[in-house]
Structure formats: structure tokens, C-alpha cells
Symmetry: C2
Subunit: 103 residues, 2 copies
């Protein structure tokens, strides 16, 4: 599925980490929310409120979940899950084009 | 109006100029198309196919249309029009958060 249909899109961008992460918010009829965005090469830590599924359209990164020592690598076509009320470290090696699904 | 409703959104980002410009494409039921995006501080030249209305949510830039010598300044809350089959120089002084309406 290359597009989302029948959604509402917030016009204003979300710009985080001095522009290292840029996203736009999509609101769905069932009350769920996703963001579509880009993370440029960087080392960042994200905090989560809701749980997240990060779906990668393109790019390459490694991530480490809070409380874990192991880094796991992901690239375009893959996805990873982050628990809610937590955090993860993400090292973006090639610009990530992503969809973030909030749980 | 802070959001667009009942639109289709292309999941994949448009990344131009080595990441200086990032946008996502919105498709409307009437067949028109807009992009929502960000331009980071930079000096760029954009070519246009269709005519464009650039609506600025935030940021500050100056632009010079093809064939003109004058630079005009725009900032959040303002918009400018660019003819089709043309080009414009844009100097982004503060990160632009924009909606581009294609005519």
C-alpha cells in the first residue's frame, strides 16, 4: 500500500531535534494517529508515550530499546516495535523515510 | 484551517537537495495535488511545471522569480505565487514549514 486514503492531515510540520526529524501527523477515521516523516543521519533518543510501530520505507538505522544492551539493525522494508512509556536510542546511518503507527 | 480532511497521502517522502527540502504529497478527491513540507536554511533554485502557491505556516525566506531582479521577503502566515514552467530562487533564512498548492 503506497498511500493512505480518507485521512486528515495536519498542515503544520513536527520538527524535532533541530530538524534531524521532521514529520506530519495523519488522523484516521477510527481515531488512530500516524506520523509520516524523515530522520536524517544522527544519533538520537526518542521517548514514547503510546507504543509505536516504526515502518521504514527507506534508509538504514540501528536501534537500542531502553534497558537493552543490544543494538538491532533495520533498513527500508522492515519495521520495529517500541513499547509505550519507554524510550529508544536510534542511530540513523542512511536517511530514514518512515511511517510511525501509534498503538 | 489547520488540517486537510478526506485526502490521500503518499507514504513515501520527497527528499530534494540533499535533504534541504522534505515533503509529502497529498491527493485530493477533485484531482488536485498539494505537498506539505519543510525547507531548511539554504539557497536553492526550484523549477516549476504547474503554477504554485506557496503558503508559509512558519519560517522566513526571500524569493526571486525567474527574470526578475528584485528579491521579496515572506514569512509565516504569508503566501507567494510562482508561475508554471518557470523557476525561482529561494533563500531560506529560518526553516520554512509550508503547504504548496499546485494550480
Amino acid at each position: 500500500m503506497s498511500q493512505f486514503d480518507n485521512v486528515s492531515v495536519v498542515k503544520k510540520a513536527n520538527i524535532y531535534f533541530d530538524g534531524k526529524c521532521v514529520s506530519h501527523t495523519l488522523l484516521f477515521a477510527d481515531g488512530t494517529r500516524k506520523t509520516i516523516g524523515v530522520i536524517f543521519p544522527s544519533s538520537l533518543t526518542f521517548n514514547t508515550a503510546a507504543s509505536e510501530v516504526m515502518e521504514l520505507n527507506a534508509g538504514r538505522c540501528r536501534i537500542r530499546l531502553a534497558g537493552e544492551s543490544e543494538w538491532r539493525s533495520y533498513s527500508g522494508g522492515e519495521r520495529f516495535v517500541v513499547p509505550g512509556n519507554s524510550s529508544f536510542d536510534i542511530e540513523t546511518l542512511e536517511t530514514l523515510d518512515y511511517v510511525c503507527h501509534f498503538g
